[in-house]
Symmetry: C2
Subunit: 373 residues, 2 copies
């Protein structure tokens, strides 16, 4: 592997295919790459105050050096920014900058910035091209790839949005060095997820190499590239989530319920931690349903424990609702039709599948048992 060149993963979506570049130095090198991909285009850069303080000047300098005029739109950090008011603000700023359909919008930030910016790009002039520059591990391996964009509604998360693929993703692995350890670890849950979905060898490699991934360097880039490759393949098979793409929700049904039950209070639980517990529960529940061996559930739990991620309900700080209370959160997230749920379950490490008609009563009994662990 040539260390000076970024890794490239292509998302194969016909005339909407695009490249994900992964490696260090991509913020400082963005100007030349953007100029090459979008000759003559002007740019709006959407980011949040925290990311702006660390990386905006470098990006603007790089764009200017490549002759690209840019207009920065700096938002408040945090999940609350993913709402209608901020969407309207970003749309208005893009229009105020007189960007045309041929120009580009750049999202520089984590999942919140990427989701909001992608959605704004989807609807300004009925669709502008946009570039994802994810600055968190979670965004690099998950939300910046695949074209799901959107905002939250008071009635639920991500209920308003569009499928709008980016035209380019620049994942600068160097910016991850400034991430708080807890946030990096939470993003790692989504990395492990790709192994658990359908890549048992990748999961085994993670078990052997997670220390190097956390330390940075080539193993980290490799883990991110493998994750993007895994997601790209799922997205290319099922762009609009009519089937297989649902596998990416492994761990997310339990995870979202826990996020809801903790009031989306990041002091108690962040998304990746919810997913970690959710994946462990999905494996444990699959074992309970005699679909998979308890050894596989133990292996997942052991790996999450090793990297410092939570894997059982009692690790969520503070009070949690009881089993029926958690079930109510699950029912809010998904349609419960005639007492049955759709869940991502597994037949073993790397053998996840979409299970329809999972009895809600079994899930409640399971949660009751788990509450004591």
């Amino acid at each position: 592997m040539d260390e000076t060149q970024p890794r490239t993963v292509t998302v194969g979506l016909g005339d909407r295919a695009y490249d994900i570049l992964i490696g260090p130095g991509l913020v400082a090198g963005a100007g030349a790459r953007v100029a090459a991909s979008f000759p003559g285009a002007r740019a709006a850069v959407v980011t949040d105050r925290n990311v702006a303080a660390r990386h905006l000047a470098a990006l603007e300098e790089s764009l200017a050096g490549a002759g690209i005029a840019s207009h920065a739109i700096v938002l408040d950090p945090g999940e609350k920014t993913k709402d209608f008011a901020h969407l309207e603000h970003v749309v208005d700023e893009i229009l105020a900058a007189r960007l045309e359909r041929g120009d580009i919008v750049i999202a520089l930030g984590g999942g919140v910035i990427g989701d909001l910016t992608g959605f704004a790009a989807a609807i300004v002039r009925r669709g502008m091209r946009f570039v994802q520059m994810p600055t968190s591990l979670l965004a690099q391996v998950d939300s910046s790839v695949g074209g799901k964009t959107g905002i939250n509604s008071p009635r639920g998360k991500n209920l308003v949005g569009a499928f709008h693929q980016p035209s380019l993703v620049l994942a600068d692995t160097g910016v991850l060095d400034t991430l708080p350890e807890r946030e990096f670890r939470a993003g790692y849950a989504e990395v492990a997820k790709y192994g658990l979905i359908d890549r048992p060898d990748f999961f085994a490699w993670l078990e052997a190499n997670w220390r190097e991934i956390f330390a940075g360097g080539p193993a980290r880039t490799e883990a991110i590239a493998q994750s993007c490759q895994a997601k790209a393949e799922v997205v290319a098979r099922d762009e609009f989530e009519t089937g297989d793409r649902a596998l990416l929700n492994l761990g997310h049904t339990f995870g979202h319920a826990l996020e809801g039950a903790t009031g989306y209070d990041s002091a108690r639980l962040v998304h990746g931690e919810g997913v970690a517990i959710g994946m462990a529960l999905a494996h444990r529940f699959s074992a309970r349903m005699n679909l998979a061996s308890p050894d596989d559930a133990r292996r997942v739990e052991a790996h999450l424990e090793a990297v410092g991620l939570p894997w059982r309900l009692s690790q969520v700080p503070g009070e949690l609702p009881d089993a029926d209370g958690l079930m109510a959160y699950i029912a809010q997230d998904k349609k419960v039709s005639r007492g049955a749920l759709t869940f991502i379950l597994t037949r073993g490490i790397g053998q996840s599948f979409v299970a329809k008609d999972v009895p809600a009563s079994e899930v409640v009994s399971f949660l009751r048992e788990q509450a004591g662990r």
Copy 2:
């Protein structure tokens, strides 16, 4: 032609193909058709107070009769409703009604309701199916077909939106009987437009049959069906307006400038009237540029005069800006690059084409001459 069955025009867009049904009684008959097309779906119906007073009860009764539960969302009539605040309201109401991705949203109304509702359907849960039930002639022959949805921005009309094709269009020609004459006439400008773009025989037929079209009956249904067919063919060729679809803007560059110059005051000028003047000016300008015969411009002017539509600047009530002032409105609407504009011009009746590099100076001189007419 079987008078008891509606005419059907299919918009050929592969897996997003859909039918436009045209004929009387389609509001009262909507329930059975919706139930057949979307078995098991629930519905939200978005409309405005004026349309609701005339047609909502009949539609709700028809849906209920076919076993379709529906939730009505009734908005203020008028262009001001096409904004972010109303979009957020409609989205929230659809979510409050707990509609899922498999359910449908029905737009019952004119262009404002259709554009806003289609956009809301495009973004709720990243895309719900929707049904257009256009109640104005303009909406039946133009805005309900082709998937352009959106809202206005303080920075310009239709600057925010999505391409989102309806799954079905039900154009009830009977509801047009209750339209004010001026509104019907304005919609007729878009009917004539299809003849002028590329259907000289259709234009000749309109010259011979316009009285019957205005009177109602089979000629009206025929004119609407021909218009929908014309638009469907353009949309199927160029769904996302990267080329040919721009022909549908014949008359719209001058028209939008006049709408802007009159402050979108419908007492002075409505959209179709602006398009009528715009089409006459486009033909006159084409003659001035020696692209077409002045006889063709005279023929267009005579037909617009016959049906009672305006065709020259002096027919706009009140003061208009001078030629430079109008040019400023044109420049706001389109990108003027290096003093040149893209315009829809013509080589004669039914021979419109996309003209690039039209010198802005020629347009200004032309407008100066026209001001005295």
